[in-house]
Amino acid sequence: MASDQQTGGAPQGRRAIARARRREALARGWGQFRTRRAGMAGLGILLFFTLSALLAPVLFPPETISVTRATGELLAPPSGEFWLGTDDSGRSMLALLAWGARVSLTVGIAATLISMVIGTSVGIASGHYHGFGGAALQRLTDWVLVIPFLPLAIVLATVLGGGSTVTIIVVIGVTSWAGTARLIRAQTLSVEGRPYLERSRALGSGNWHQMTRHVLPNVFPLVLANTTLTVAIAILSETTLSFLGLGDPLRPSWGATLDQAFSNGAVSAGAWWYIGPPGLCVVLVVLSFTMIGRALEQIVNPRLGGQ
């Protein structure tokens, strides 16, 4: 990675060099990634679902998921017209899944962004500041890590008022950052121990400069690998919270669809097409993020081994 920068040269030139190096590192990373079959498979699956999400309004116009304009029989098994059958309002399951992909992916990515921003900031800050502030942030991280996720998320969602997608995003975002923070903190400490940072400190650069210019670029690859894994967790969490009825029932994510199926007796009715596909979509997307994340992690940190 673009680590040990050399002194000398005009600032402009240094930055250009750094940029070139990062580009190069990226290209090298991609080259390595391409050789990992699991990672590539994950990328493929992810592309498929992203496309479905983006194309949902084109492939399945909003009318197809409107309850008053649904054309199918209620809870019909898969047929030529409805490949994956219908839900209990007579809507095409296929259309619902495509629209659900939009919600699930959006929530997963948005929540991850929040989580990453908090996690990275807290991680870098707690690694950088050695005084009371750093220690306090570290304690906070430890606390949040220990508190069981789902009960905390349920409590937060209740306090913030359930039933909205934004609530779900915020709840997942603010409950899932601690793992990242811990990882980033460790990395920050190792980066800060490097000689050039000591030099930078000696030259009188401020905290902000050190953290954003030196630490952040160095922990960034790790953040990236961690992000994909966090998206996987976030999507699973969204599914769980929606299943518990904390999501927006009118904007059906895959989890909310499962909630609908469960509370409308799809299990007793033996409507496997109502329960199976949404869960399968979750599994595939989560798996794809996990596989990509693992591949990235192995590139960033070759010691983890694998092949």
Partner: protein, 620 residues
Amino acid sequence: MKVRRRWHAWAAFTSAIAVLVALPLLPASAEESPSPAATSAADKKVFTVGITQDVDSTNPFTGIAAASFEAYQMMYPTLTEYSAADFSTVPGLAESWEESADKTYWTYKIRPGLKWSDGEPLTARDAAYTFNRVINGDIEQTNYGGYTSTITKAVAEDDTTLVLYVKKPSPIMYQLAVYILPEHIWKDIDGKKVKSYKNEPENGEAVVGGGPYVLIERRKGEYLRFAANPNYYAGKPAADEVVFRVYKNTDAIAEALRKGEVDYANDLSANVFNSLEGAEGITTVPSVYSGFNQIAFNMGAALTDGTPIGDGSKIVLDPQVRLAVAQAIDRQVLADKVYGGFATPGSTVIPPLYTNLHLEPANPVGFDLDAANATLEAAGYTMGEDGVRVSPDGERMSLRLLGRQESSESQKVVEYVKDWLAQIGIEVNVKIVSEDTLYEKVGNGDFDMFEWGWVVEPDPDYQLSTFTCDQRSTEDDGTIYAGLSDSFYCDDEYDQLYEDQKLETDQAKRAEIVKQMQQKLYDSNAYVVTVYYDNPTAYRSDRWTNFTPQPEPDGVLLFQYGTWSYESIEPVTADNADTTSSSGGGVNPALIVVGVVIAAGLVLGGVMIGRRGRSEDDVE
């Protein structure tokens, strides 16, 4: 070679899973699938009812759950009863009743020679004791105050004559659903103790009662057991025991029914009902029910003194807007799709199963989106660029609609309504809240529209009172308390009609007034009654027969106004018992399949482990 090794890897993995499945299964399957319920002694006929909400208290003064009232009417008699056929008044504990000529008292003739379940005499004195206790009571008023508000005192002139003195004439005197309690038991439980009195069996002694059944065992959250009361005035029922078993949801009850753990399940979802249809030994009946659901509007939330409260939209105050909404809701579609056909489109607030009282409106509003659009257009609501209309005052037609977390139907209905209203230029913001929260929001007037419903009693008084001005919210010490009114409908003429029917003891004349009131409400569109819903029910017809529907011919079989079915049901005769035992004790093909798979997994795993051991030894 490579292929084989891969296969072994798989085998090891699947056998690991198989072992995992088998571990908890082995002892159980060895025992031949413990078939429950059927274990009860063969000579005792036990009728088991699945319920989802446990009886909250078996003390008739403190319980509030529906199942609790079902228990009370099994345990205790009432003066009169609602007939199974058509809800007309029929004798209960009282053989006959009469209003005095001057309309100041009613005389009830109690059946002679009755006994409580413990053998003590059951007389008019017990009835007088109970009524006086409610009239003079505090906590005793909670459940029964509504029936006794007009009664000043109860007097037992002798063992068979009860006289109730009234302030004003009232038709409620035909139907006093006050459970008559044994004085010799309850006289020891004073007004203070009654709050925490459990009224549960102690030391194996049944709770003393006078209804068709007595409570003999109670396990909180699990079940209640009742035994037939040999001293019951209509004779000892044929079912020796009735058990209420608590399940988490109707799905679980349906499954229990399928497996024979329970004999009766109601309140089934359409899907579950359909899946039970045609199942062996099970009969399904849709059962017409006395409930309706509605979309209600905030017609100007206010306190009883007229002080406005809440933040309701001005838009729904316009009758034309409410009419347009009524025109934009396809009740037939809701009945068919949301309620799976187990409902009929709604009209007025008294359901049609009360044939004597229900009004079929002369001017029904049908589903017509074009008409709804025209209504709004004519009333000056012009379409905005974003597809949302703007009121003559320049306000966007954006309304809030609250649905209920507890009901999946409610959540669907609001989605349908949102969809339809979008097509007539009204934007709807749906929020799903718990019924508790909804109650609070409605009481405070913080809503535009909501979805909820009522279960209507045979006596229309309570239902009609919910639209009177007096039932709007009240304020005490800065806190607003909800009344019964959830639409804040308030109309002097209506209030007058309400008072009139309250005093009318001629039942035919009263029905006329009640119909007039329904028409007024219908025209105002305070409620858009969406559907009258059924109570989809299923029972083990291979075990029990001779249920009594209320009303005839297709009403509910249990949870009636009365205990008709508990008294009439009979166990199915011997040849059917064979069917039951064969389905319970027979070899289940799926069990064999599972067993074989597990055995195969174990064998493969064993082979695998053996092989591995050998290959490793080779290495060593």
